[in-house]
Symmetry: C2
Subunit: 129 residues, 2 copies
Amino acid sequence: MNYSRQRELILKVLKETPIHPTADEIYSALKKYLPNISLATVYRNLNQLALNGEIKKIENLETCAHFDHNIHKHHHFICIKCNKIYDIPQEVSKDIEKKVSSLTGLQVTGHNISFQGICNACQHKKTTL
Amino acid sequence: MNYSRQRELILKVLKETPIHPTADEIYSALKKYLPNISLATVYRNLNQLALNGEIKKIENLETCAHFDHNIHKHHHFICIKCNKIYDIPQEVSKDIEKKVSSLTGLQVTGHNISFQGICNACQHKKTTL
DNA sequence: ACAATAATAACAATCATTATCATTTTTTGC
DNA sequence: GCAAAAAATGATAATGATTGTTATTATTGT
């Protein structure tokens, strides 16, 4: 990665804000200093910085919503090989909301966990297709 | 909610599949029975059914990616009032991956938790604006 | 059977994000 | 310091998931 003024400023803006801005928020903040910057440049650099491990991209693996006939609370596991979603009983995280509350003072009304990994089917698949 | 053939079939398809399909996957499956069904109808019904509590919509509260200069592992808390994102130390969920592994046999390589609730600032705000 | 109401299909519109590509900036070897 | 090579940029088109619009069709209570 070579130097670029826009990348330097993107990093600066991100490091100076306590919130976790979206690409668009960074873009807006940058316009003061670089009125001609393109939103695509912001996206490009954020993705590159994240790939490089210099920043972290917070997103969910699921690119679109999924629907579930199981309406009792539970968590999900997404297989990184086949992308299938499996149910995880929510008992694995009981008490976690209380833990967060007492640690932070935040009023926690819910949580959900997505686990990633390799499902049983994919574990047993031959690696060579 | 009145009866409709398409809604009935949407529910049927959803109840019969063990995976957690996307709207588009349900749409494709339905085309066999209702060749003229519209994708918008599938979306509309899934959302209504989810509002009614008959099914569950799995999605994340964050509609778009956020970027974080804090690259050590941690979880996030999103305030349902102001939408701000706060960091939660990941120690609150240590051992949870092992728990899931031994319970299910899945090979868990990671997890992330998003907590929802009301942040300290919003807790102290007057409810009447 | 019929008017009132709700749901539909088709398609335009939106939002976040990525791809394309000609132009500009940065690096590098001399 | 300077020209060629490599990388990054800005403008904009394209994409994918989802929602809005509207004229048409189905459902319901009477």
